[in-house]
C-alpha cells in the first residue's frame, strides 16, 4: 500500500524546552485529507497526540493548523494536493498547549469588548428588513472562527499592538452593517481596537477557508468609516456646522 | 492567480525593470549609444517591470 510521510509537531511546554517534528508513515487512502492522516496517527500509533477536531466537514473551524508553512484547515486540505512530505504545526500565533493544540481563549476576551447588537431606538418589532440589506452582514456571519486569519495576520503574530485582528474586525463589521443596529462601532474599532495597525496586506483574505473577503468587504469599509469621522476635513467641518446650528 | 515568481523577488524585478529604463534614458543624454541598443534595453526593462506584477 502506498504510504505518505507526515511530520507532526510534538511538544508539551510543561515538559519539553523545545518542540520537535516527529515523522510518521501513514497509508494513503483515496481522497484523504491531512486530518485523516493525523487522526490515523492519533488513533493507531500514538493516542496521546493532542489534536482538536470536531465536524470534519469544514463547518466548525476546530482543526486549524499550519500545513507546510501555510495556515489551513486540516479537514479541507487534501494530501494529494501537497508535496510528498507533509509538515503539520500548530497555529503559532497562539500560546501552545500541547502538540497541535493552542490556547485561543483570548479571542473570547476580545469578543467581550465588542459591544453586542443593540436595536435602533424606535425600531418596530418584529423587524422589517429588506433582503438587499442582509447580504453584506451575512457574508461575515459565515465565519467559522477557525482563527486562521488571526494566525496569518502579521500584526497579531509578529507585533505587539492593540489590534484585535481580522476575525474580530469582521465581527465588528457584521454588527455595524446590521441594518437594525443602533451603535456605530467604527470610532471604537479605529481607536481602542487598533484597526489603524492593519496595513491591508490581505493575507487574511487569502487564507479564509470560507472565502470571506475580509479586507475588501469589512476592513476597508470600516477604515473608510473611520475616515468619515476622523480624517475627512470637509465632513468634520460639516458636522461641526450642523452641530453648531442645531445648538442654536 | 498562481504566482510563479517567489514574493521576495517581486520588488527587485520591479525596481530593476524601471531602473533599467531610467538609467538608459539618462545615459543616452550624456553618452552616445546606438538607438537599436537603447530600444532593446528599454524593452528588456519593460518586460522585467511587467513580470513583477502580482495580479
Amino acid at each position: 500500500m502506498k504510504e505518505l510521510t507526515i511530520n507532526i509537531f510534538r511538544m508539551d511546554p510543561a515538559v519539553d524546552n523545545a518542540g520537535k517534528y516527529k515523522k510518521f508513515n501513514v497509508p494513503v487512502q483515496e481522497g484523504m485529507v491531512v486530518l485523516d492522516a493525523v487522526r490515523y496517527v492519533q488513533e493507531n500509533i500514538d493516542p496521546s497526540l493532542a489534536l482538536r477536531w470536531n465536524c470534519k466537514a469544514a463547518r466548525c473551524g476546530s482543526c486549524s493548523a499550519e500545513i507546510n508553512g501555510r495556515p489551513r484547515l486540516m479537514c479541507k486540505t487534501r494530501v494529494d494536493m501537497l508535496e510528498e512530505e507533509i509538515t503539520v504545526s500548530p497555529i503559532r500565533a497562539y500560546p501552545l498547549i500541547k502538540d497541535l493544540v493552542t490556547d485561543v481563549s483570548n479571542n473570547y476576551e476580545i469578543e467581550r469588548r465588542i459591544p453586542a447588537f443593540r436595536p435602533k431606538k424606535g425600531a418596530a418589532q418584529p423587524f422589517l428588513i429588506n433582503q438587499i440589506d442582509v447580504t453584506r452582514s451575512q457574508e461575515f456571519r459565515r465565519c467559522i472562527e477557525c482563527f486562521l486569519c488571526q494566525d496569518v495576520c502579521h500584526v497579531i503574530r509578529e507585533h505587539n499592538t492593540n489590534y484585535i485582528g481580522p476575525r474580530h474586525a469582521i465581527k465588528v463589521a457584521s454588527l455595524d452593517m446590521h441594518p437594525m443596529d443602533g451603535i456605530d462601532r467604527s470610532p471604537m474599532l479605529n481607536g481602542d481596537l487598533g484597526l489603524g495597525f492593519c496595513n491591508i496586506t490581505k493575507c487574511c483574505q487569502e487564507v479564509c477557508p470560507e472565502g470571506i473577503k475580509i479586507t475588501d468587504n469589512a476592513i476597508i469599509p470600516e477604515k473608510e468609516r473611520a475616515v468619515d469621522y476622523k480624517y475627512d476635513p470637509i465632513l468634520r467641518l460639516a458636522r461641526r456646522l450642523r452641530r453648531g446650528s442645531s445648538a442654536k | 492567480m498562481k504566482q510563479y515568481i517567489p514574493p521576495k523577488y517581486r520588488y527587485p524585478l520591479f525596481f530593476i525593470g524601471l531602473m533599467t529604463m531610467i538609467i538608459t534614458a539618462i545615459a543616452y543624454k550624456f553618452v552616445f549609444i546606438p538607438e537599436v541598443i537603447i530600444e532593446v534595453v528599454v524593452i528588456v526593462g519593460f518586460v522585467l517591470f511587467v513580470s513583477s506584477f502580482t495580479f
Binding site: I132, D133, H154, E158, T161, N199, E224 | F15, I22, K29
Partner: protein
C-alpha cells in the same frame, strides 16, 4: 522633549529602518520624475503623452492617488516594507524584533485617498479629450493604432478609478439600511455593480500603470522614428 515625542508619534519606524528596498524605491521615484523632466515630450503628431495630460504638473497628484490606493498600499507594505513580504509562515520576512506602526503614524495620510480620488476624477476627461484630439489632428478623421492605445489607457484609468474602495464607500459602503433610504434598491444595485469592479481593483491598478508606461514608451518610440504606427482607417 515635546518635539521629540511629537516626532516619535509622527514618524513611523518603517521609514527609519535601514531598508534597501525603501531607499531604492525613493531613488526610483526621484529619478523617474527626473527623466520625465529631462525628456519633456508633450505632443507628437497629435498624440499627447499620458504623463502630460493635461500637464506634467498633475503627475504628483496622480502619484499620490496611486500611493494612497488600497491596492498599491498592499503591495508596498508587502514588497517595500516587508510587513509581511508573503503570507507563507517561513518566507514572510517580518519578525517580532522589527518595530511596526502600520497605518497609525505618518501613514495616516493614506486616509486622504478620497481627496486624491476627487482630483483624479477631474483629470480623467483629459485622457478622453486627448484621444479625440489624436483622431482629428490631421484635419479629418483618422484612426491610428496610437489612438487606440490612448483610448485603452483612458479606459484602464477609468476602470481603476471606478473600482476604487473610497468611491465604493461613497456610493453605498456607508449605508447600512438601503431599505430605509431614498431609491434604496437602485443604489444597492449600483453598489453591487461597483463591488464587482472593486473585486478587480488590484488588476486595474497594475494594468493602468502598465498601459500608461507602455503608451509613454510607445509615443517616445514614435517620436524617435520607429515605424510602429499603423493607420487603421486605411486598412479598413
Amino acid at each position: 522633549m515635546a518635539i521629540k515625542t511629537l516626532l516619535n508619534s509622527m514618524i513611523p519606524s518603517e521609514l527609519l529602518e535601514p531598508n534597501w528596498r525603501l531607499l531604492s524605491f525613493i531613488v526610483l521615484l526621484i529619478s523617474g520624475i527626473g527623466v520625465l523632466m529631462l525628456y519633456p515630450m508633450s505632443e507628437f503628431h497629435g498624440y499627447v503623452d499620458p504623463f502630460y495630460a493635461p500637464t506634467v504638473l498633475v503627475v504628483p497628484i496622480a502619484g499620490l492617488f496611486r500611493l494612497t490606493c488600497y491596492a498599491y498600499r498592499k503591495d508596498y507594505h508587502r514588497h517595500v516594507f516587508n510587513h509581511p513580504n508573503a503570507c507563507g509562515i517561513n518566507i514572510r520576512g517580518d519578525s517580532m524584533t522589527r518595530d511596526y506602526s502600520g497605518e497609525t503614524k505618518f501613514f495616516r495620510v493614506e486616509n486622504l485617498h478620497r481627496y486624491f480620488l476627487y482630483a483624479g476624477i477631474l483629470i480623467l476627461p483629459f485622457f478622453y479629450y486627448d484621444f479625440y484630439i489624436s483622431l482629428i489632428y490631421s484635419g479629418s478623421f483618422v484612426l491610428r493604432l496610437g489612438s487606440l492605445l490612448l483610448l485603452l489607457n483612458a479606459v484602464a484609468l477609468t476602470l481603476w478609478a471606478a473600482s476604487c474602495h473610497a468611491l465604493r464607500h461613497l456610493i453605498g459602503g456607508r449605508t447600512d439600511c438601503y431599505g430605509c433610504a431614498f431609491a434604496g434598491s437602485q443604489r444597492k444595485s449600483l453598489f453591487n455593480w461597483q463591488s464587482i469592479l472593486n473585486g478587480h481593483h488590484e488588476f486595474f491598478a497594475w494594468f493602468s500603470l502598465l498601459t500608461i508606461i507602455f503608451v509613454d514608451l510607445y509615443l517616445r518610440g514614435l517620436a524617435a522614428g520607429m515605424p510602429i504606427d499603423l493607420n487603421l482607417s486605411k486598412l479598413l
